[in-house]
């Protein structure tokens, strides 16, 4: 085991948004900072590189946001998605702090763009990064380099060494070389455990091995596990993860945004046996895509098949892989590995249940089936116009909920009290606030707010 020659004021474990916000804040307060990023440079930034926007409270128009989005409305939106599984005090603190984050982000190199095509519904609540999350991550790394922050890539933290109420050092492997890293303060911002399929399988069941991981393969929860094993207080349901239905042909890891499929509301979705299992038209897709991960996960082999016809092919965002295409339902079934007779029976049954009426793809049109055990309550048009198209759906895991419990100062606690020189930020503690569901852009808000708090606290601790 070699020793990193320097003793840092602050060692930050992780290299995504929260880690960078903590490191930059502490360095600006005068601390000597080291960032330990587990990924190689090309994949730095954790799940932040897949993000796109930041949910921000504001009392009036504030570039790039329109109108106003005040604390109560923001908090109510959070209550709605979490169904109350949140810590109101922490949540309101994050919401209030988000407003001053926006100018801070800009002064540290992040650039925003006005909401353009298709995202206008979010132009009031969410600030979009110009170029997306990787551009944000790059901006913060440039800022970090300019501040003289040391950055180690391929730096896996194996063990956080705790001595009573203090952390003394980290046992790491940097580019394969076992290395001890010493510092006076530590911030853990190393994400959740969603890339560890064994852990997911233990929590969820063996079906989890068929899940796709939408984000980085580097969030394996090693540090989270290590801290929990050492008695750190936890928060969040250990068995749950946030999963959406994505293109079944996506890469196992890191498929990111392009693997989304927006076709479900205009389709019928069948399982391996060719049967429908849920109302595809229950609500508009932005309000439903998150439940479909779970729905597909509950089907045999954790797979679903969305079937549409020629009428609907241009009604949704393009998919990253072209759909399977056939002139007959039977042909489509064969190509997708489904039983042609079963799919034909399901389509015929569905088509017979469709009713005439006006179809409006952009609003709840009430065009519903009649007499089906599994109804479709909007956009129910017969699947009858060749060519027919099919997409395979699989659950794509975005993040996990289990995390470290922190207080308003981002401090990590053990049963006997706070660990004096340890703070946490980002996904590793987000379960404190986001106990269930997801609110677009809120993960980046938690990461930015708590990253900055952790950086401030750590810098004050060593000052």
């Amino acid at each position: 085991m070699t020793r990193w020659p320097e003793v840092f004021d602050l060692a930050v474990v992780g290299g995504g948004n929260a880690a960078l916000c903590a490191a930059i804040t502490a360095a600006e307060a005068g601390a000597k900072v080291l960032i330990l990023e587990g990924a190689p440079l090309a994949y730095r930034g954790g799940n932040s590189r897949h993000t796109r926007n930041f949910r921000c409270m504001h009392r009036g128009p504030m570039f790039p946001l329109t109108g106003a989005y005040e604390e109560e409305e923001y908090f109510n939106d959070l209550l709605l998605v979490t169904k109350g599984k949140t810590d109101e005090h922490l949540a309101r603190m994050v919401i209030r702090a988000s407003e001053e984050c926006l100018p801070w982000m800009q002064s540290h190199g992040v650039r925003f763009q006005p909401s353009l095509s298709g995202t206008l519904s979010l132009s009031r609540t969410n600030a979009f990064f110009l170029g997306g999350g990787k551009a944000l991550v790059n901006a913060y790394y440039r800022t970090a380099a300019d501040l003289g922050i040391a950055i180690a890539y391929e730096a896996q933290v194996i063990h956080v060494h705790r001595d009573g109420d203090r952390i003394t050092h980290l046992e790491t492997e940097i580019a394969g070389q076992p290395t001890t890293v010493r510092a006076r303060a530590f911030v853990l911002a190393s994400g959740g455990f969603q890339a560890d399929l064994d852990w997911l399988a233990r929590a969820w069941g063996p079906a989890a091995r068929n899940f796709l991981i939408r984000g980085t393969p580097y969030n394996r929860g090693v540090v989270l596990r290590d801290m929990l094993d050492q008695g750190a207080e936890s928060v969040g349901d250990p068995t749950q993860c946030h999963a959406v239905a994505i293109d079944g042909r996506a890469p196992k890891y890191d498929g990111g945004i392009v693997t989304r499929l927006d076709c479900v509301p205009f389709s019928i979705v069948v399982n391996r046996d060719g049967d429908r299992f849920y109302d595809e038209g229950e609500d508009v897709w932005p309000k439903r895509y998150a439940i479909w991960g779970r729905l597909v996960a509950a089907q045999p082999d954790q797979v679903g098949y969305a079937i549409i016809d020629h009428k609907s092919i241009d009604l949704f965002m393009p998919s990253v892989f072209p759909p399977v295409k056939a002139d007959t339902i039977e042909g489509l079934a064969t190509q997708m590995g489904l039983d042609p007779t079963a799919l034909r029976r399901t389509v015929d049954g569905f088509n017979a249940a469709c009713q005439p009426g006006p179809f409006h793809p952009t609003e709840l049109d009430g065009l519903r089936t009649q007499g089906l055990n599994v109804p479709k309550t909007n956009w129910a048009r017969p699947i009858d116009t060749a060519p027919f198209y099919g997409y395979q759906l699989r659950p794509g895991v975005t993040f996990t909920y289990l995390g470290l419990k922190v207080d308003t100062r981002a401090q990590v606690h053990a049963a006997e009290g706070p660990i004096r020189n340890l703070w946490a930020a980002g996904e590793i503690m987000a379960g404190s606030i986001l106990g269930q569901g997801y609110l677009a852009g809120f993960g980046m808000t938690i990461g930015t707010v708590f990253g900055r708090i952790a950086g401030q606290e750590a810098a004050a601790h060593v000052a």
Partner: protein, 365 residues
């Protein structure tokens, strides 16, 4: 070609593969005109790709912001993919194509042509020396120069016009309205598509750090070139309309336009060449690097030799400098359809075509 190179696929096929992935993401829609234009279609015909490629100014912002660059299995490199399609379109639409392929790719070919032109002018100066004339007209008569340069200027322009007609057809350009021209000129005059969408410029010479240098040097080059062109045009007007023949004094339109223009071009060429040596060739069409570099140096040489010629007024150097200057100008004119010089025509055409297309409907998460 080494044995471990993958088989070459058409630039359009690779660009199509990449744009289909890109179009499912759209995080980059704020950088430049390419991405909003991309959202118009789900499937990309060759003409769509030609259009997008000529809208792309190779600012590289999208490359550094991309989640899907190598080592990711999607292996996106949009600036390079579009640069290949762009270079291919300029070669394909040029006539004769073989000349474009030669001069786009090989800087040495351009240098060889310059040597030929130089030899020609040394011969012309020796053999066609006029009996009378002032300034450089003492070395080569005005009418002789006109006889050489008018065809050398107009014939390439005619070829470019034919290529642009084919281009317009290929990209599905519509009827041109005055407002489309204004929009295109407005974007070109400010090099809007090199602004990065936030006004801080490109990711060209220093990885993902933004810099406005490329835009600034390009402005120097472009406006310097336009001033020099205006200088020549003013000389023509003075010659024919006012019978006021060269040499012109310092306080005359040709000199007042030409000297600053020449200085700007020299500075612009030096800057652009310097940036090009620092930029990652893998984010452009690497095979045309030599031709592009030679083109920058040629523009710089035209300006530098023009300034030198003026500085040498009244000395014995006027003769040889005149030959060198005229040779560089001749090469520049002759290679307009076959060198990077066409980029100005195609880019402007792309901006006009884009202004005339329906506003992208878009979509996004």
């Amino acid at each position: 070609m080494s044995l471990d190179m993958p088989p070459k696929i058409a630039p359009q096929a690779e660009a199509r593969r990449q744009m289909e992935i890109c179009n499912a993401c759209r995080y980059c829609e704020g950088f430049c005109a390419v991405f909003p234009a991309m959202t118009r279609q789900k499937a990309f015909a060759d003409g769509d790709l030609t259009h997008l490629a000529n809208l792309c100014h190779n600012c590289r912002g999208c490359y550094y912001a991309c989640q899907y660059t190598e080592p990711h299995e999607f292996a996106l490199n949009i600036p390079a993919a579009l640069a290949e399609v762009r270079a291919d379109s300029w070669e394909r639409l040029a006539r004769p194509r073989a000349l474009a392929r030669l001069f786009q790719t090989h800087g040495t070919a351009m240098a060889a042509l310059a040597v030929v032109a130089l030899a020609f002018f040394f011969w012309a100066l020796a053999a066609l020396r006029p009996a009378e004339g002032a300034g450089f007209y003492a070395h080569l008569a005005h009418n002789t120069m006109i006889a050489i340069f008018i065809p050398a200027f107009l014939a390439p322009l005619a070829l470019i016009a034919l290529s642009l007609r084919d281009y317009w057809h290929e990209v599905g350009g519509g009827r041109i309205r005055l407002s489309h021209l204004f929009q295109a000129l407005h974007a070109a005059a400010r090099m809007k598509n090199l602004s990065g969408g936030h006004g801080e410029g490109c990711n060209f010479e220093d990885a993902d750090r933004f810099s406005d240098r490329r835009r600034q040097f390009h402005h120097l080059m472009m406006y310097g070139f336009l001033l020099c062109f205006a200088s020549t045009a003013s000389g023509t007007v003075m010659h024919y309309a006012f019978a006021w023949e060269a040499p012109y004094p310092l306080w005359s339109p040709p000199k007042l336009l030409g000297i600053p223009g020449g200085l700007m071009m020299v500075a612009g060429a030096a800057g652009l060449a310097w940036l090009k040596t620092k930029a990652d060739p893998a984010l452009g069409a690497a095979r045309v690097w030599g031709g592009e570099m030679a083109f920058i140096l040629l523009l710089g040489s035209v300006a530098l030799t023009g300034l030198a010629l003026y500085a040498a007024t009244g000395t014995g150097l006027v003769g040889p400098l005149l030959a060198i200057h005229l040779a560089t100008v001749l090469v520049l004119f002759l290679l307009m359809p076959f060198s990077k010089m066409v980029h100005g025509f195609y880019r402007l055409a792309a901006l006009v075509a884009e202004a005339g297309k329906p506003a992208p409907a878009g979509g996004g998460e």
